[in-house]
Symmetry: C2
Subunit: 372 residues, 2 copies
Amino acid sequence: METPNFIFCATKAAIKGARTEDLLAANTQIILSNTYHLFVQPGAERVAELGGLHKMMNWNGPMFTDSGGYQIFSLGYGSVSQEIKGKRDGRRGNMIHRITEEGATFRSYLNGEKHILTPEKSMDVQKKLGADLVVVLDECTPFHVEKKYTAESMHRSHRWALRSLKAFEQTHDGRQAVYGIIQGGVYSDLRQESCDFVNEHPFFAHAIGGSLGSTKEQMDEIVALTAPKLREDRPIHLLGIGKVRDIFKGVRCGIDTFDCVHPTRLARHGGALVPAHQKALEDLDMSHEHINLRNARFATDLNPIDPSCECATCRTMSRGYLHYLLKAGELLALQALTIHNIFFMNRLLKSIREAIATDKLDEAEEYWVGSK
Amino acid sequence: METPNFIFCATKAAIKGARTEDLLAANTQIILSNTYHLFVQPGAERVAELGGLHKMMNWNGPMFTDSGGYQIFSLGYGSVSQEIKGKRDGRRGNMIHRITEEGATFRSYLNGEKHILTPEKSMDVQKKLGADLVVVLDECTPFHVEKKYTAESMHRSHRWALRSLKAFEQTHDGRQAVYGIIQGGVYSDLRQESCDFVNEHPFFAHAIGGSLGSTKEQMDEIVALTAPKLREDRPIHLLGIGKVRDIFKGVRCGIDTFDCVHPTRLARHGGALVPAHQKALEDLDMSHEHINLRNARFATDLNPIDPSCECATCRTMSRGYLHYLLKAGELLALQALTIHNIFFMNRLLKSIREAIATDKLDEAEEYWVGSK
């Protein structure tokens, strides 16, 4: 796969609203699935029985799984939990987790069954899932804790990383590669320590995790101070980040890959990503990176989402038709917008790769994000 | 288009779970949309503003709209109403209708707004929607009424048909063709009278409507006694019928086209259509025409839905993966099963056309439906 690139979230071994052939038609190079979800349902053994993720999904390209940690720790927070479970029914998550040196204990959101995820277990599950790129187990330290806890948590994550690495190496057959994760929250010295840690151990690549602060500016700052501390001979992934402006910021710091549910989730809410350049031409609201097709202004609009886009949706459907489909609650709207947003992200990353090669990143950022 | 053929229901100008390119890839030749739904939302004028159904949906093949009558009259019954509204939340329809010589009065399921659908209005709406094949307004007489009401209703439907025809002819520009409908319920003499009526008036084609009784045997009987009474120089459509066994019965009586939500709705409930021949080979339950992939027996099944099928789903997904996707509530399952069931129906109808040409309809029926 080419870099920089964007990894789409096939959370439960499926992208909501797009089939594998739709992903390919939209120029997708890499996808990920979530270990936590698949661990709970249908279970790693079942995925292995069904031939592993690639075979199940008929996906022959590169694929990534996370460690499962992020979702377990997120379950401490109701609102995130609801997103994770793909539910919006107002029930709050009460799937309490407990962290020990051994690992993280949690209850299944399906049946309340108690599980423990250890570093060894995470690597074993990820091996059974069979993705190409796997990740060590870490604690995703929340934003609101004190520095002392962030440091303790980071050190435990480092110990878990070594156990993950050991477990990985014991069964390594050359078919998977493992990412180390950088923690340290918003603290420069901790980030330095975590970068030193991953740099010194035999990871294939690095992923920047943990809290990136509470504002865009703080995120930019942490990414900018962390990425340059990492070895240049290993790819760098930025976990969970995926707005267009964030990607430009990250790329400038040397980030190779990004992942985020944003483009596909946005689609399910009626949002279609449109380059700032096109929005400016039409005098559309610039406060978001997308247009919301539920907006009445699109009801009779015969233009495609983005006249400069060549995705299957923009080639065949008008904004007016999509507006109507959204209002009518038709699945087709979600499919159409998902395909558009995936195509958009792949087009964006291609444009960034070309801009890097031709030293025109400023122009590209102007086109996609607009003037500062 | 070739006949016999099957018309898929893009009820609200969209097939739930399949895009136009999926329909084409599954060999679809003709689709329909429902006038009632589009009349309520987004309204015929809006559809016209958006270029008409063909342009909106990017569908360049033949297309059919019904008169809107069926749904209005169905609204008298809660359970049917829920299906119509695409809702299954237990609320019962209270969108009372009143029938007068003028037309049918009903309330919008969206906002309670009162509307009257007259024969003239139905033709006007269908003209704006822009399908190739349109239908006169009729009352879809329910099953449980007495013969006297069935006769009165049929006569009113005939008067409405003449008004529909007159309205159609006044604005006819050669781009649409109109179907007359045969009513008469389960009564042979009324069916005869209704056939005589449509035969004598300048319809392009005929559609058999109204109650076909309460059992499969009664339906077979009514179709068998009605179809042969119709002029041979006009196509015959059988409204709302679409089980595989029904299609063989209908074809043997001279029916040219069928429509039914069954294949696509079944898909949304986890049902995949499989030829009887394949089910017999695998000793699968023969009491339905489909297999239910939610069934635990498919959880680790690496076979495609139907090893003899070449649809996009059967080429790429195992029953086990589909079983998991259904259990996990993933949209992808609905998309995959919808595509399979559409492909199945088109394959079935192609097989029937070939069997007719080669005088092997018995063998085809044995393959698709099984032994009696």
